[in-house]
């Protein structure tokens, strides 16, 4: 795809049918179709409603803590000896990651639609915690589906969700990880169509979710652009973010897609290497297929059966990716690269020591890519990275790998 035609804009998608090129769409059971069309109607109304925007902004400022700071990482920049490195500090948000931006937006929609019950899927538990948080804030019951394997791996987040009043349902179907949790959430939704709102945690799923989640997360890039112009008087040369389902990445990318001079890189979980099955690099090592309501790059075998991914970071442990990323890859606007578990782990430690910031393992993947690129760039060049979450949730995983029992 090196000779992709030049487009007038990379920000126009999706089309009416929810497509980004061949990707996206609405591949769902008939039972869900009317719900998805209702949601789309409501979303189309809400996004042009000043009252909705005002409520979102108000909660953003006073509940989430927006705008999140843009931070110049001086010591890291010095250590690497190349481009100036800036972080968009999404880890300072309420609940510790970018996930809350989307949850606040969607729960306001759920309210508008008169839904009285929230369901969500979660892998690492970050989206589960953010969903449980907004459900508590708006007084709605919340059920979070979580793979049984992840329930064990992420005990602190399970406890957090329970404290917040959510019911955590361990999923044993399949292999008991994130994709199985998503299957189970979809099964709940078809069963409880009348009162239930499905709060999807990433920029994937059937249309309009990829667009809607992107728009709720796009505040990251909008703020970062203004903040960068204020700090440096110009745009960054490179924007980097980690990609699981792709919500934090599309959130920071979207504002920069039409800025020609800005190079954009998405970082996938390379796990233990791309040779075997122990990675989650859907774009770098997968192929287009249809899962969870959309066509996108997937990890699958020759028979179209979906594979289980692996990543050190539970938040990247998903065998698919949002459809807009698949399209941005194919048209050549964004470059997607893998980072291995051990590289992310080294980056995690480096940031902790040099800047006094413990990052989540997900953005540690983005950071590892920054660490590779910064020294090769000039001192007058600028990198912007999305620091999508804090690492408190990961200290047990990291402690175990580093041989420090907690």
């Amino acid at each position: 795809m090196n000779e992709a035609p030049k487009l007038n804009s990379y920000r126009a998608g999706p089309d009416e049918d929810g497509r980004f090129g061949i990707f996206g769409g609405r591949f769902v059971a008939e039972t869900l179709m009317p719900l998805i069309l209702d949601l789309q109607d409501e979303w189309d109304k809400a996004k042009n409603d000043p009252a909705f925007k005002a409520e979102l902004d108000n909660l953003g400022a006073h509940y989430i803590g927006r705008p999140s700071p843009l931070y110049f990482a001086e010591r890291l920049t010095e250590e690497l000896g190349g481009a100036k490195i800036y972080f968009k500090r999404e880890e300072l948000n309420h609940t510790g990651s970018h996930k809350i931006n989307n949850c606040i937006g969607q729960i306001l929609l759920a309210k508008r639609m008169g839904k009285t019950r929230i369901i969500a899927e979660t892998g690492a538990g970050q989206h589960g915690v953010a969903s449980a948080t907004v459900a508590a804030r708006f007084g709605l019951p919340c059920v979070v589906y979580m793979g049984a394997t992840d329930v064990e791996r992420q005990a602190p987040n399970v406890f957090r969700m329970k404290l917040l009043g959510a019911e955590v349902k361990p999923v044993t179907a399949g292999n008991g990880t994130l994709k199985d949790a998503m299957n189970e959430a979809l099964r709940d939704w078809v069963t409880n169509v009348d009162n239930t709102y499905y709060l999807i945690g990433t920029a994937a799923g059937p249309h309009p979710y990829p667009e809607m989640v992107r728009d709720f997360q796009a505040v990251i890039g909008q703020e970062a652009k203004e903040q960068m112009l204020a700090a440096e008087g110009r745009l960054p040369d490179l924007v980097v973010a980690a990609v699981g389902g792709g919500s934090n990445a599309i959130g920071i990318f979207h504002s920069f897609l039409d800025d020609e001079g800005v190079k954009i890189v998405g970082v996938e979980a390379g796990g233990k290497g791309l040779e075997g099955d122990e990675h989650c690099a859907s774009i770098t090592a997968g192929s287009p297929g249809v899962l969870h309501g959309n066509r996108t790059y997937l990890l699958q075998d020759g028979d179209g059966q979906i594979k289980e991914g692996h990543s050190i970071s539970a938040g990247l442990d998903y065998p698919g990716i949002g459809p807009e990323h698949s399209w941005l890859n194919d048209v050549g606007r964004v470059e997607y690269v893998p980072i291995m578990d051990h590289e992310a782990l080294e980056a995690f430690q480096m940031l902790t020591r040099l800047e006094g910031i413990i990052p989540a393992l997900e953005p540690s993947h983005a950071l590892a890519e920054v660490i590779k690129r910064a020294p090769k760039m000039g001192k007058d060049e600028i990198i912007l990275m999305n620091l999508s979450g804090r690492g408190d949730k990961d200290i047990f995983t990291v402690g175990k790998i580093l041989g420090m029992g907690l």
Partner: protein
């Protein structure tokens, strides 16, 4: 091959009874057993066969069919082998319509054109692809119809009168009415509610309407068959197979006969349906 389907529905209607549609998972628990099950179905009284294509992520299925898919995949089943089961069945039986049922991704990866050619060659009459609503008709539905393979759509309680015409537009063969909002294997709702829904659909289409999801016993088959043109039984058959297996999930001498006995009972149920309704 819609002709085979139309003929079957017409024949059965002339007997004054509803059609018995039976679902099982291709390759569960292994290729050969599964082929034997398929061959046994019409002999036990099944009129139409739904042959399940296993998928790793069956979003619309309950635990029983999920596990059947896992057993089948673990046994090495692929889409090519599922088509092979159909082809081998067709060598002996040219009259029983076969409908493939499953999810889109394995077909997409196999290649839509190649799949339709091979399906036609294997004697497939229709397709039910759960995650392809009418909005996605260009993917598979239109190409299938062009090749002469029926595309059978699910209508559900959420498919209201506004939406029904869209759902029925490219539907052929029969309409599959899903008795409740939910996944396969749930409990059967009140038959009188279902009868009302079937009537509602019939005001929009001349196609036969079959009802599935939750039909487990001969008694259910009889009750539903009183108003519908056909009754679909899936989970009960899959559960019957599961209960006959060894702890390691291998077939036993009881596997095929168990299915036969169950289907014979269901068949008696549909055969008495209209009598019951007339009473």
């Amino acid at each position: 091959m819609t002709a085979r389907m139309d003929r079957k529905f017409a024949d059965v209607a002339s007997e004054g009874r509803p059609v018995l549609v039976t679902y099982f998972m291709g390759g569960d628990p292994d290729f050969e057993t599964s082929l034997s099950i398929m061959k046994a179905l019409p002999k036990a009284g099944a009129d139409v066969i739904e042959l399940g294509m296993p998928f790793s992520d069956p979003m619309a299925d309950g635990p029983a069919i999920q596990l059947a898919g896992q057993r089948s995949l673990k046994g090495g089943q692929t889409l090519a082998k599922t088509l092979e089961i159909a082809r081998r069945f067709r060598e002996e039986d040219q009259r029983t319509p076969i409908v493939l049922m499953g999810y889109y991704n394995p077909i997409y990866i196999y290649g839509v054109d190649r799949f339709l050619t091979d399906a036609l060659d294997a004697g497939i009459d229709g397709l039910i692809v759960v995650d392809l609503p009418p909005e996605m008709d260009d993917e598979l539905c239109i190409p299938a119809l062009e090749k002469g393979i029926s595309f059978i759509r699910l209508a559900t309680p959420t498919t209201d009168d506004r939406r029904l015409p869209k759902v029925l537009e490219n539907t052929s063969g029969f309409v599959y009415y899903v008795s409740m909002n939910g996944i396969t294997g749930s409990a059967l709702p009140d038959p009188s509610l279902i009868a009302g829904a079937v009537q509602r659909i019939k005001t929009h289409t001349k196609l036969p309407v079959c009802v599935g999801f939750g039909v487990k016993t001969a008694e259910h088959a009889r009750a539903i068959g009183a108003s519908a043109d056909g009754v679909v039984v899936g989970t009960a058959i899959v559960n019957q197979i599961a209960s006959s297996l060894t702890e390691e999930g291998k077939a036993t001498d009881a596997t095929v006969p168990g299915v036969e006995a169950l289907v014979r009972g269901l068949s008696a149920g549909v055969r008495s349906a209209r009598l019951a309704a007339a009473e």
